[in-house]
């Protein structure tokens, strides 16, 4: 009896397989055809290893065409730009150096500091996300991020600072690294000053 049941089950399985086989083959063919036609995701369709590099190169050229020669040299050599603060605490500050300034890094917080003493004041966390939809990318190239910060600070400092999240120094940036950057900036300016003086001394 048991043997007969097993034989029946085996026959039923073989028949079911024979009936289902054409449908399985059709499903596999359709799946292979779909896979060859449709991308798995937006990045698979658009993946281009040189794309981000080319975007950054274009962004650097745009930045270079907007800022002055000193600021471009600063970014090229040091990786950040200094932007002078527009507000003065005293009348005398209007005539002399800026009372405070910002260090603008790509994709990092803006750092406010006092140029005369080197005292670090605060970090302003701000970003410029493009939410209009572009294959899942929201982040601008590094040099575009710097240019966006530069344009925002030099045109409407109050607005960008209001929108930023202010933190004490050390939240995202290492204070020691920022101080080292200020030292590098001072050295860079000293060397630049020396280079500019050399041609004059030869005349």
């Amino acid at each position: 009896m048991l043997l007969a049941l097993l034989a029946l089950a085996l026959i039923a399985f073989v028949l079911a397989t024979l009936l289902a086989l054409p449908r399985i083959q059709q499903w596999r063919a359709e799946r292979a055809h779909r896979a060859s036609r449709e991308p798995v995701g937006p990045f698979d369709q658009l993946y281009d290893p040189g794309r981000e590099r080319r975007a950054e190169q274009r962004a650097r050229e745009l930045l270079r065409s907007c800022v002055n020669e000193e600021e471009w040299g600063m970014y090229r050599d040091l990786g950040f730009i200094r932007v002078a603060g527009r507000h003065a605490r005293r009348e005398v500050d209007h005539a002399s150096r800026a009372a405070y300034a910002y260090l603008v890094y790509p994709h990092k917080p803006i750092v406010a500091y006092v140029p005369q003493s080197g005292q670090l004041l605060s970090e302003y966390c701000v970003e410029f996300p493009d939410l209009t939809g572009n294959g899942g990318r929201h982040r601008l190239p590094a040099s575009d991020d710097v240019l966006a910060k530069w344009m925002a600070l030099t045109s409407d400092e109050d607005r960008v600072i209001r929108r930023a999240n202010m933190h004490l120094i050390g939240r995202q940036l290492d204070p020691a690294r920022v101080r080292r950057d200020l030292w590098r900036l001072a050295e860079w300016e000293r060397r630049r000053g020396d280079r500019q003086r050399v041609p004059q001394s030869h005349q």
């Binding site: 794309r51 981000e52 080319r54 975007a55 950054e56 190169q57 274009r58 962004a59 745009l62 065409s65 907007c66 800022v67 002055n68 600021e71 917080p109 966390c125 701000v126 970003e127 410029f128 996300p129 493009d130 939410l131 209009t132 572009n134 294959g135 990318r137 929201h138 982040r139 601008l140 190239p141 575009d144 240019l147 966006a148 530069w150 344009m151 925002a152 030099t154 045109s155 409407d156 607005r159 960008v160 929108r163 930023a164 999240n165």
Partner: protein
Amino acid sequence: MKFLRMKPGHGEVLLAEGDPSVQEDEERLVEEFRRQLDEGMWAAVPVTNSGSGRREAQMVKEFADIPPESERVIFFPRASGG
């Protein structure tokens, strides 16, 4: 005058180009300007400060605010707290 827009993965993209003194071009530029601001972009014009001689940007909120001698307007996403 050129309208450029910063785009992730692209760098700047040319949106429109034209001579604002030509009516047809101006209408096209105004339309594009409004579209970009409607999409949440900020618009800025790189200028040279007449007093200090330093390079800086001027934010523009209306097409009429664009300095007439400007060669380009740069659109970029508005700032938000990071």
